[in-house]
Subunit: 637 residues, 2 copies
């Protein structure tokens, strides 16, 4: 096979690439970050690049869906469609660059009762003699039993191998790390007081990790990164799809990527804490079912096919070394259980953090990611369901959608009188009206919610979602026969063109919020009640959306706004809780087993509810609290 | 470093060897089998070779202990002392060739109650549907619970990885292999009836393995081999010593050798049984404590230093894959517990096979190897001890001693009237007197016992062990100032010289048997009784020695000969029993924990007893049964 020289601008990344590979593949090989949401399926149009020099395969019909005639003439191509046929020089436009995402998954303060699985015990032993020639392990175990009344213990094989040398080196005074009062994981010379663990939330997009001191529960350091699988597709389906289309090594590759990512996080976190990765004695892992399966190297393909059964639901305890994790060689990995194919260990994490099963009131927990997971109930009953929200609420399938990276519009206000727009971008303190230097690159999830709510509230879109004809604003216009609303003018952006909300964008958000709303409604009907007492919005997303705006859009059924909580990354909190308190693991196991999964798509009224839920809420009796919000606004004006 | 060409004759093995390596090392590298008992310590003199051409390092004083001036002139060198200094052609004399040993560890017929740790269960499951989207593992476990009332099960990680594909490929009808009603090790499509296991006795010299069908207990095939560690020293101390003198990789090398040997045995055995190594789902392992530690890659150095504590005493269950064993990837390895530093898992094997702890009578179990292990007791009490017999009883440290290989004298008779000798060699049906073509190469363990007993019985040696001056035989002679007795004349041998028993040989046997006898006596004293009801002689060795001759020599205290049993490789039987009956594993654990180890060397009377026991038995009141034997002989003549 021939190879050609490929250069990416503006980064300058370059190297040789095999003939026939496409630009997106080449960008991954050479480390040039080209955005892709669909994972190279020619479906998202995010990987548009510009051919500056050289030869690519002929322009295809698929590309014309995302590239205008004018752009085509200027050299624009879809990275996943254009194949390399000679040496090429490629320019990656600003909007197609996969910038370092701003990760907002910080550890929240929660009071967690400390009862970690790893405990340290210090013992002093008498050395062997001809009168007392007991074996080293017997000596150690009997010493532990005498002093701490520990029951019969196993020992990790690698810990056993180091035992004789450590005992003698330490003059028979050692600290023993024991897992679950069951297995000796390590023997260290002398007195050691601190042990460390790592809680990890493997999101489809973001991996967040918390390094914790197991003695006092303190978060020593937190770190997050983009899931390294991202360049193989932004959503779970494209990850599954990669493993299916690469039967030889696709699964292995996905697995290796996430393991490599975790190893990177372990190094970074322990460095921050002046520790070594070998100090990490346990990991606690949450993630949706696909992330969960890929982490464990379990074939996820059946999760992508009806009826979507997971391979394993129960929690797992594995040796970190067997997964390739570079932490303490005897470390344990605790993986939280999953509830169902679409309700993963991340949701179990949310549940043990929020404990709806301990509440008297009827609670709805909405965990919003690319997939929406709903749990509803109280201490008597708990049901779960999941709905395909699609990536719209996170900026995907939105014309100018992007992740919450620098330059992404995250807040939008529309003046009710002038219909003029003000916005705020990620990593900037000021609003655009206050600082003229701000340049937007696109709109991220919370900005999209804001935009929709503001457009609706100001009558620019109707409750059907249609742009109201004749809206008196220069921002309202028709482009290629479809109405759109300009959020940022070309001179306010870094991408050289206006950033708009299109009719299609509105429709995508409607599909997403309609799915959530219809799901919640069907669940309420199943449980036979009319009114939610409390709504918990989880997801990294959850902490940054404006709960008022979410309610205006109708993302969940009516509830007193005072009882709506945005709790941030509750899944990650759940992983931390499980790391620090082993009794919560039993709770997790029980919950995962007992939450009844409700398959929404086979409910008789699903289609009807869904279609009804597509509309934005009426200010009617079914939304009394929404009416209150609007009334308050009117009074304030 | 320079390399030189080395050729070994008569095998023709050749290759390049680094300058400075000695001939013994070179022989290992090139696969020429040079005998060595001391492991290259210049202590045994078994590795004598002849330099035919080329240059070696100068002759040393150490070598002159084993090589006469005449031999030196003929080019004889000690393989472990002579270093390569140029291209050389080496001849390995017949007596220095490490021939393929005749392994006599066949599986004996014992009725074993079948209750293997591995059980197979067949289940038919309903496939997932939207109404029943349970996870694959839940589905399987619930199916097993419904049909077989199996409790909560774990699953081996690799079994989990293959689960989804096998279930679908088999249309949800599968056979599940479960270990200890606890862990799923394998899932096979359809109905499978047979599962296989491997019982292994890792002897210092010989490794014996039995491939068993776990359904019916049948021994499918047996195979044995010389322990591949043998070329690094014949006894346990030289193995320990190798790991200590090679701190970088010595332990790893010893471990790899035995694992490699087991892999070779697994391949050979499964081939014999028309199976694959992957059909082996469990291994059950016995061996002395050093073999046990090396098998597990545990540092054995403390076993070589007073007070000789083992690192681990309890039984171990490990994944075969973690040890590098090439059998079923999820197979379990059960390693029997050890009793003490010198009373290993092999002895536990002997005990669960012979069950002295179920007997009313007072039993002595003697397990003879390079190390002698004694267990004494009955259902009320059981004590153990061990004594350093040295390798004399197996042919080591005996001038013409050799292992039980073809050509080794294994039986000796001395005519009481003429004092003429007849002998039998391994692998020959006839005695030398019946077939003049037989050529002896040396004397193996059972031949040495025979020789000693016959020499004593015929008054050629006195009870002190001294050759009786003036013995009227042409075979009695003085060589280099010391008396010796010719067993085979030069023309009856394949080594070109007379095979004799020397005064030093007699002394070495006396040391060995004296240690056993003194040990047994001290144990009897500890337990406060005078008379043994039963003696069990175990060890591969045990099945071939003549129990009468052993008694004449005084290898154990007096006992009615009708109650002396030679049971052969009872340790291997114990491994098979533990493989086939998991309840015996609990018995093993309990015994290993409860047998009290008696350190003989710290007993007040040890020296006195030992010195007294060096003499051959008096035909006195303390040996009533011995007197009977002799009386019977006199009557018969």
């Amino acid at each position: 096979m021939k190879k050609f020289q490929v250069i990416f601008q503006p980064s300058g990344a370059r190297g040789e690439v095999l003939e026939g590979k496409n630009i997106l593949e080449a960008s991954r090989e050479l480390g040039a970050e080209v955005e892709s949401i669909c994972g190279g399926e020619r479906a998202c149009g995010k990987c548009r690049v510009k051919l500056v020099d050289g030869r690519l395969s002929p322009f295809t019909d698929e590309e014309s869906k995302f590239i205008t005639e004018l752009e085509k003439a200027a050299g624009y191509r879809l990275g996943c469609a254009a194949q390399i046929e000679g040496d090429v020089l490629i320019f990656i436009p600003e909007e197609s660059r996969a910038g370092k995402q701003v990760i907002r998954k910080a550890a929240t303060q929660r009071a967690i009762q400390l009862k970690p699985a790893i405990q340290l015990y210090y013992v002093e032993l008498s050395p062997p003699s001809l009168r007392d020639p007991r074996g080293d392990l017997d000596r150690l175990k009997e010493g532990l039993r005498e002093r701490y009344h520990l029951p019969s213990l196993d020992i990790d094989y690698l810990a056993l191998l180091k035992l004789p040398a450590v005992l003698r080196q330490a003059d028979w005074k050692v600290t023993v790390a024991i897992w679950m009062e069951k297995e000796i994981l390590d023997i260290k010379p002398g007195k050691v007081e601190d042990a460390y663990g790592l809680a990890v939330d493997i999101g489809t997009t973001t991996v967040a990790a918390y390094l914790c001191n197991l003695r006092n529960g303190e978060v020593v350091a937190t770190e997050s990164m983009m899931n390294p699988q991202m360049s193989y597709g932004e959503d779970v389906m494209s990850r599954i799809s990669y493993t299916v289309t690469h039967p030889g090594d696709g699964l292995e590759r996905m697995h290796d990527l996430i393991i490599g990512g975790l190893n990177q996080l372990s190094r970074a976190l322990t460095e921050k804490g002046h520790l070594l990765p070998e100090d990490i004695l346990e990991l606690s892992i949450v993630g949706n079912t696909v992330m969960h399966h890929l982490f464990l190297k379990i074939d996820p393909q059946y999760l992508g096919l009806s009826p979507f059964p997971p391979v394993v639901r129960q929690s797992n305890n594995l040796k970190a070394r067997n997964l390739g994790l570079k932490v303490h060689p005897s470390a344990n990995v605790y993986v939280l259980p999953v509830e169902a194919g679409f309700v993963g260990a991340d949701n179990v994490g949310v549940l043990i953090a929020e404990e709806p099963y301990h509440q008297d009131h009827m609670v709805l927990v909405v965990d919003i990611g690319t997939n929406g997971e709903l749990v509803m109930g109280n201490k008597k009953i708990l049901i779960s369901s999941s709905c395909a929200t699609g990536p719209a609420l996170e900026g995907g399938y939105i014309k100018f959608g992007m992740r919450a990276a620098p330059g992404a519009i995250e807040r939008i206000r529309i003046d009710p009188k002038t219909l003029e727009v003000d916005f705020k971008v990620v990593n900037e303190e000021h609003w655009r009206s206050e600082s003229k230097n701000i340049r937007a690159k696109g709109i991220c999830g919370s900005g999209i919610i804001d935009a929709m709510a503001e457009l609706y509230r100001n009558g620019i879109i109707e409750k059907s979602g249609r742009f109201r004809p004749g809206t008196p604003s220069r921002r309202m216009r028709i482009s290629e026969g479809k109405p759109e609303f300009v959020i940022a003018w070309q001179e306010e952006t870094a991408i050289g063109k206006d950033i708009t909300i299109t009719q299609a964008d509105v429709r995508n958000v409607q599909l997403a919020k309609g799915a959530l709303y219809a799901g919640a409604k069907l669940m309420m009907r199943r449980l036979g009640f009319e009114k939610l007492d409390k709504v918990i919005l989880a997801g990294a997303f959850g902490s940054y959306i404006n709960k008022e705006e979410a309610m205006i859009l109708g993302m969940f059924p009516d509830c007193d706004l005072a009882n709506v909580y945005a709790v941030g990354n509750a899944a990650g909190d759940g992983a931390r809780i499980a790391l620090l308190n082993r009794e919560k693991r039993e709770e997790a196991e029980e919950i995962a087993r007992n939450v009844e999964y409700m398959e929404l798509t086979i409910e008789a009224n699903f289609q009807k509810e869904f279609i009804e839920a597509l509309e934005f809420p009426h200010m009617s009796d079914s939304f009394p609290h929404l009416r209150d919000i609007v009334r308050k606004e009117i009074l304030e004006q």
